[in-house]
Every structure is written in C-alpha cells, then in structure tokens.
C-alpha cells in the first residue's frame, strides 16, 4: 500500500469483471480526492453500475484492487464485505425499508445513545424535519430520494456512492433536486461518487467527471475542462453537439471550409466544431445557406450548408428567425483538433492534445 493513496477516500486500480463471458469492466481505474463530487458518466451498458457495486462490495471483481480510506478492501486474497466498508449507498430505486418509518430508516445504520440526535440533524440537513413518522409509501419520489440520502449520510461514511440517483424523477424535479443534493453533500463535506448517463446532469453538478466507455475510464477532469478538451472524438460527441471535419495541417496552419486556423501539427487531422462557437449573420451576398432550423425557445440550432456541401451546425440566439433558404455568413470562434487517425484512448488524467484557438473568419466577403 503506498502512502499517498492512504489519504484518498477511495481509489480503484485495474478492475476487471466479466459476467458469463461479457466483459463489464476492462481495467477500470479511478481515484477520488477528499470532499470531491465525482461523476462517472457514460452511456448505458458501459459498466458504470458494475463498477459502483464493486466499490460498495456487492460484487467481487475478477481482479484489481480497491482501497477505501487507505485500507485495501479488494485485492489478492482480500475481500471486505459491504457491511464493514463504511460506504454510504444511495440506490437508483432508493431501497427504503418499506416496513420502517423515516426515522427508523435513517437510524438503521446508527448505534448508541446519540442516534436520535443524529437522525434529527441529518433530516434537518436534507430538509425533511417533521416527517420522522411518515412511512416510505407516504412520501413523494423527491422526498424518498432525500430520505435515502439522509440514511446514507447518517453514519458519516468515508464515501457516498450513488447509482443514477435522479433517474426516477421527472425532469423539473430532477433539476431542482440535483442542485439541492449538491449543496447537501457540500455541507456534509462528504466525498461522493455518482453514476449517471445524463451528460447535462453530470456537467451541472460535478467537481470532476470520469468518462467511461467499454469498461474503462477514458478521461477525467473538471467538467468544463473535459468539455472543452475532449480526449477523443467519442468524448466530444458524448458531452454535447459536435461536428467533425477532416483537414490537412501544413506549415503551421489548418485550412478548413470555414477559415484558416494556426496549429503546431502537420498531416491529416480531425477538426471538431461545437455549434455554440459558430455565429451566424444574415447576409444577402453570402454563399452559405440555412438548410434546417430547430427552435428551442431559449435558442435555435441552425444547420448551415457551406460551399462543397459541408454542413455545419450553429447554436445561436432565437432572433433573428432564420428560415431554410436564407443566405448567411458565419464565423467560427474556436476549433478543437484531434490527430487523425485516432490513437487508442490516452491514460486517465492526461491532458488532451488539442488546443482551442479563437479565430474569426467571415465568409464572404
């Protein structure tokens, strides 16, 4: 056990797990710092839940090590059962004990004479003081979710693990509750790992993101860093809308249909443009033309056809209302460059190689 790891609430190294021939985890590695809310983000079926269940002790990995608070809980010849891991788990279906009231649910993990005080304290923290005697089925989904959080927080675990905690809520309540949960976790100064497939949710509330694909973590970092510097085109597309173009870098510049950008690369590259970095102006003489418009109320997404049948999407203010056929001029405020062909995923925590370069190009004149 190395000494630097002993300060981490949790670290997992090279976890492998397969179920009946299907590989669920393929070298899953993750470290979490004290007081961090880390979100494991990935599409369904990449092994997020399996990873979480291994960390909680509900599944055993085929190989790999897990340390919680510096103690090895999974390793060669070592397995600490879930009841001795001091991990607080928030389940997707909340898993409240249906035969206990709120107070007994929250007190379930507590011992000793100060139980009642701690229950009151935690219920206060999640804003449910006064509901101690309600039964779980008498609570709304949002309240059940907060009881589940209170129950997990009550024994002051080293780390909270949450599996898609907001997926059973409707869209409006989900947005409100996730902000609340964020501030509760911050107030409790708890380290937490949350698993979700919802990129908006992950970007909105996490201190750090860990993007997961095919059983392993492909990139970690703060949400805005990962969004702006995706390690791979897969990460870029998963986190938001993106258009990709092949281009040639030569002599310190990349020439694209929408302008020329400086670069340090040479050779074939892949260029990514996010729609929000594209600005559109109505321009009677322009040779780019709007081909499709999706209106969202707070903004609009325009598909613009450039000379050479290239389609570029632009997210912009809802005004002016542009219609298919309208000629427009565009400017691209920044691009991200990937080497082409793609290299295998870089190790986690590495800095991606692309650099966004502000640039302003108007076509024409």
């Amino acid at each position: 056990m190395n000494s630097s790891a002993s300060h981490r609430p949790l670290s997992a190294h090279a976890l492998y797990k397969s179920f009946a021939g299907t590989v669920a985890l393929d070298g899953f590695t993750l470290k979490v710092g004290i007081g961090t809310l880390l979100t494991v983000l990935g599409p369904s079926g990449v092994g997020k839940t399996t990873a979480l269940r291994i960390l909680a002790g509900f599944e055993r990995p085929d190989s790999g090590t897990v340390q919680i608070g510096g103690q090895t809980v999974n390793g060669p010849g070592i397995f600490v059962p879930p009841e001795r891991r001091q991990v607080g788990m928030v389940f997707q279906d909340y898993a409240l004990f249906p035969h206990f009231d709120v107070a007994r649910n929250v007190a379930f993990g507590l011992r000793g004479s100060r139980r009642r005080r701690r229950v009151a304290e935690v219920l206060e923290m999640v804003g449910l003081a006064g509901l101690e005697e309600r039964m779980p089925h008498e609570l709304s989904a949002g309240q059940q979710q907060r009881v589940a959080l209170a129950r997990a927080l009550a024994p002051r675990p080293q780390i909270i693990l949450a599996d898609e905690p907001f997926s059973n809520l409707d869209a409006a309540r989900r947005k409100r509750l996730r902000a609340e949960v964020r501030s509760i976790l911050r107030e409790a100064e708890t380290t937490a790992i949350m698993v979700t497939h919802d990129q908006e949710e992950a970007l909105a509330i996490s201190d750090r993101l860990a993007l997961m694909d095919q059983g392993r973590v492909v990139q970690t970092g703060p949400p805005d860093h990962v969004y702006r510097n995706p390690a791979t085109s897969w990460v870029a597309e998963f986190l938001g809308d993106a258009d990709f173009f092949d281009a040639e870098a030569r002599g310190g510049r990349i020439t694209t249909p929408f302008g020329t950008f400086p670069t340090t690369r040479t050779g074939r590259v892949k260029v990514m443009v996010r729609p929000e970095s594209v600005t559109v102006f109505p321009h009677a003489q322009a040779n780019a033309v709007v081909v499709y418009r999706e209106f969202f109320g707070h903004d609009q997404l325009l598909s613009v056809k450039l000379p050479g049948d290239i389609i570029l999407r632009a997210r912009c203010w809802p005004q002016p209302a542009l219609a298919p056929g309208d000629p427009v001029a565009i400017s691209v405020d920044g691009i991200h460059i990937f080497d082409e062909p793609q290299k295998p995923p870089p190790p986690p925590d590495s800095s991606p190689s692309g650099i966004p370069i502000p640039q302003r190009v108007v076509i024409p004149p």
Partner: protein, 527 residues
C-alpha cells in the same frame, strides 16, 4: 469511526451458498415419494396389476374427470359472464355465494348428498311430507359427478371472472371495425383472450377430480383412488396398490403436460384497457333467467348442503345420538394443521430465498420439484411413503413426524407462492442497503427480509392450515394408529351411515376452516 478490518481470505461459504444448502435439505425429502413412484412405474409393482383392471380404472377415472371438467367449466364460466359482463343486479353477493363452497371438502359434499336422500334423507322427508315418495340413494358415476361438479364450480369461477373483467374492448371493436360478425369476433378474439383462464380453471378441476378420494369412495364409484385404498386395506401385498398409485401419478403428470403443450403461444400484449368492457343489458326475462341459473347453483351447492348438515345435527341433538361429540378429533385436527402450517413457514424461507434472491441454474429444479409433488394425488404420495418407510425408514412408519413432513412437502407450493410474491415486490437493493449500513447477512435477514416476507408467509400458512385440515387420503394411509382427525371422522361415520356424527364433525370442520379462509381472502383483498 472505526477502521474496516480486511478479511485475510474470502469467506469459505458466502451467504447464498448457505441458503442453497438449506433449500437442498428442505427439498431432498421430496425426492422420496417421487423416487418410489417412479420405481413403481418402471419396477415390478406396475406389473402386479392386471392390464384389464388398469384399463377399466383408466376409463372410469378419465370419464369422471372429463365430465366434471366440462360441466364445471361451462357452469363456472357462465356464472362468471353473468356477474361480470351483464347488468344483472346483485352480482357481488352472487360471486361471494358462488365461491363459498370452495371451503367444502369433497367428503362433506358426499355426506350431504347421502344425508339428503334415502329413507331417512332430509330431502326425502320433505318430499314425503309434500306427498311424494322417498328419493333413492344416489351412487356411482352420476352421484360423484354431481358432487364434484358443484364443489369445482368455484375454482373455475375464480379463475375466469378476473379475465372476463379485464377483457379489452378495443380488440373486439377493432375486429368489428374490420368487418367481422359478432360470432366471428367471439370465436376469434374474445374466446382466445379467455382461453388461458379457462384452461387454468379446467386444469385445476381435472387434477382435483383425478385425485379426489373422499367423494368417489363414499359414493362407491370405482376410480384409481378408491381402488388404491381398497387394495391397500385388503391385502398384505403392497405392490398392486403401489402400481395403481404410480399409474395415477403418471396420469396427473400427463394432464399437466398436455395442458402445457397445448397452451397458446401468443401473449396478449395490449395496453391496459382504459375502459372496462361493454356490459350487456339484460331484458327482464333475461334477468329472471340469469337469477334462476345462479339461484339454482347457489341452492344446490350451498343452501342444500348447509340445510342437510344442520338438519342431521339437530336430529342428533334431539334424539340424543350426539352423546359423544368429536372434541378430541377437533383438537387433533387443529393441532396437526397448526404444526404443519408452522413447519411449512419455517422450511419455506430458504426455498423462497433461493428461487427469488439467489437464483442460479438449479432454481428451476427446486421449483419444479415443489410443484411436481403438489400435482401428484395425495393418495399416491401416501402410498409411496408407506412403501418408502416400511422399506427404508421403519422408525418413521405411522408417526406424527412423517405425517407432518409429508403434509409439508405436499403443500409447500401453497406457501411458496405468496412468500415469493411478497419478496419479489421488494427490490433486493433493500438488503444491499442494510449491508452497506453495517448489517451482517444474518441480521439483514431477520431485520429486513423476514418482515418483508411476513404477509406472504402468514397468508400461505393459513392456506396450508386449511388444506391440512381437509386432507383425507394421505391422512388415512399415514396417520399413527388411533389418530382420528375431523376429516377421518366425517369419512368413517358417513361410510357407516352415522350421518348425525358425520354432520357435526363436518360442520365443525367448516367452522374452523372459516378462520384461515378469512386471513387468505383479506390478504388477497389487500393485494
């Protein structure tokens, strides 16, 4: 906060292995009767029965099973249609009254038929008083058919009514919209939707008739069950009885297999009906005919039996023939039924756990084993256990332990079903939550799993109590010497013509049965 102590080696046996060992220990005894019956079929015993006798019994048993199934399905489905798809007034009351005879064991049904007829019969007395003659004792095929049909109608009624209520009107309307006639809609759309419920009800009735011993033995109609008992009682050689038992068990398995293999493969995937199906408006004549039909059914299956039993009991009280009420029998019945219900509730826990929480490829075998024994007629299980204990476990022969053990393995599915339903309603993540909050697997079971299973355990135990109370053939074969229960008392008193004695024991049986029945129906209502 304390520090997690690493366990040097993975536990030798994780908790689910322990559950599997316990479940295996519970299911292992079930192998004894199945093994003996299989041996009876392939080994020597089968050959001890003349083939002509075997064929004769097969034809007589089969004829009764087919006749009872057809009439019970027709009457039960007709009554279900009247109460669920028409505007007949009083439908709720009718449903209750139609289902009450479910509590009447077949030997009590036979007793009421015998007590109603003959020189002293209650109906004969009324008939003579009205200026008619005596009604002759019925016996044989038609007597058995009448009693078993009346008792079986509730089984079909209960199976079909929910299906009729949930018929999706959209499908019928779609068919009409595509130009199908009413008759074609009924044949191609309505009937196939009802078919699973009809065959399920029919299967229950068929198996019930096949395995019935009480009615056919008292009404003297020769079927497998009656023949097995006569062979057993009259001979030292057990082989003919075992051979017949094996044949009967094979017939029951065949019926279940036939039903499974002809089951329609389509599944009716439609959205839950927003509206309930259109109710047929009956004309006044139609209503009168409807109530005439339901009224006759209720009179025959409920009113007459209650009147006959009460009349015989009053006769006994008046004439002083009831000097010796069956209190001891009642005590034994309650005691052995309670013991069985309790034992079943204890042993079902591991079986329910491994078939819901810790399923693996053996789970199907455990479930199949439990249900296989449930389908085998009790008299066959009893016969097999006599052969087994005499051959391999002599100290168990005619002991209470054996009797209760056999009851438990025969009735296990009755408590397994509700316990599993209770468990399945709760996500296994509640147990994981308990673990992550520091509870060991054993404490998790006590504090979380068991309380969640409790409603199902209670209702299942009530059902086991009820079934044990009314069980006759296995009790006759396996009871310790002199161990008379109420069921045995009704059967032997009726067989000897002591209807006053039989009537009192029968009424006591129905009275005791009302308590567990109340528990079961309350559980069903809550669900």
């Amino acid at each position: 906060m304390g520090v997690a102590r690493p366990v040097p080696q993975p536990r030798a046996l994780p908790p689910n292995t322990w559950w599997w060992i316990l479940a295996g220990a519970v299911m292992l005894p079930a192998a004894a009767p199945l093994g003996v019956l299989a041996y009876g079929l392939v080994g020597g015993a089968f050959g001890a029965v003349p083939i002509s006798r075997l064929l004769q019994l097969a034809v007589r048993t089969g004829a009764l099973a087919v006749a009872v199934t057809c009439s019970a399905v027709l009457i039960g489905a007709g009554a279900a249609w009247l109460v669920s798809r028409t505007d007949l007034p009083g439908a709720t009351v009718a449903t209750t009254l139609i289902t009450i005879p479910l509590a009447v064991p077949s030997f009590v049904g036979a007793l009421t038929l015998l007590g109603a007829t003959g020189a002293d019969g209650v109906l004969s007395t009324i008939s003579i008083w009205l200026g008619g003659g005596t009604i002759r004792y019925p016996s044989g095929f038609w007597a058995a058919w009448l009693v078993l049909t009346l008792i079986s109608v509730p089984l079909v009624h209960l199976a079909v009514t929910p299906a009729m209520r949930s018929l999706n009107p959209i499908l019928e309307e779609a068919a009409r919209g595509l130009g199908a006639s009413r008759v074609k809609v009924f044949r191609t759309v309505t009937l196939p939707q009802l078919r699973p419920a009809l065959t399920a009800g029919g299967l229950l009735v068929g198996l019930y008739t096949l395995s019935d011993f009480g009615a056919v033995s008292l009404l003297r109609y020769d079927t497998f069950t009656r023949a097995i008992y006569l062979e057993y009682a009259g001979r030292v050689d057990r082989r003919p009885a075992l051979g017949l038992a094996a044949a009967l068990a094979a017939a029951a398995v065949l019926v279940v297999w036939l039903e499974r293999s002809t089951r329609a493969r389509g599944v009716w995937f439609t959205a839950r009906p927003r509206r309930t199906a259109r109710v047929v408006r009956l004309s006044p004549v139609g209503k009168a005919m409807g109530w005439g039909f339901l009224g006759s059914l209720i009179t025959l299956s409920l009113l007459i039996p209650v009147t006959v039993l009460t009349a015989w009991m009053l006769r006994g009280l008046i004439s002083g023939a009831l000097a010796d009420p069956p209190w001891a029998e009642m005590g034994r019945s309650i005691w052995v039924s309670l013991l069985t219900a309790l034992a079943a509730a204890v042993v079902v826990a591991p079986v329910a756990m491994v078939t819901t929480r810790f399923r693996n490829r053996w789970a199907g075998l455990v479930e199949g084993g439990a249900w296989a024994l449930y389908g085998v007629p009790h008299i066959a299980v009893g016969m097999a256990m006599i052969v087994f204990t005499l051959g391999m476990a002599r100290p168990l022969y005619q002991t209470l332990t054996l009797l209760v053990g056999v009851y438990v393995i025969m009735f296990l599915p009755q408590i397994l079903g509700p316990s599993r339903d209770s468990l399945a309603k709760v996500s296994p993540s509640v147990e994981e939550a308990a673990a992550s909050l520091g509870r060991s697997p054993i404490r998790t079971f006590w504090e979380v799993t068991l309380p969640l299973m409790r409603p199902g355990l209670l209702s299942g135990a009530a059902l086991v109590f009820l079934t044990t109370l009314r069980e006759l053939p296995a009790t006759l074969l396996l009871r310790p010497a002199g161990f008379e229960t109420l069921a045995v008392r009704v059967w032997s008193a009726t067989g000897e013509g002591f209807y006053t004695q039989g009537a009192l024991a029968g009424l006591l049986l129905l009275l005791i049965a009302a308590f567990p029945l109340a528990i079961v129906t309350r559980h069903e209502l809550i669900r």
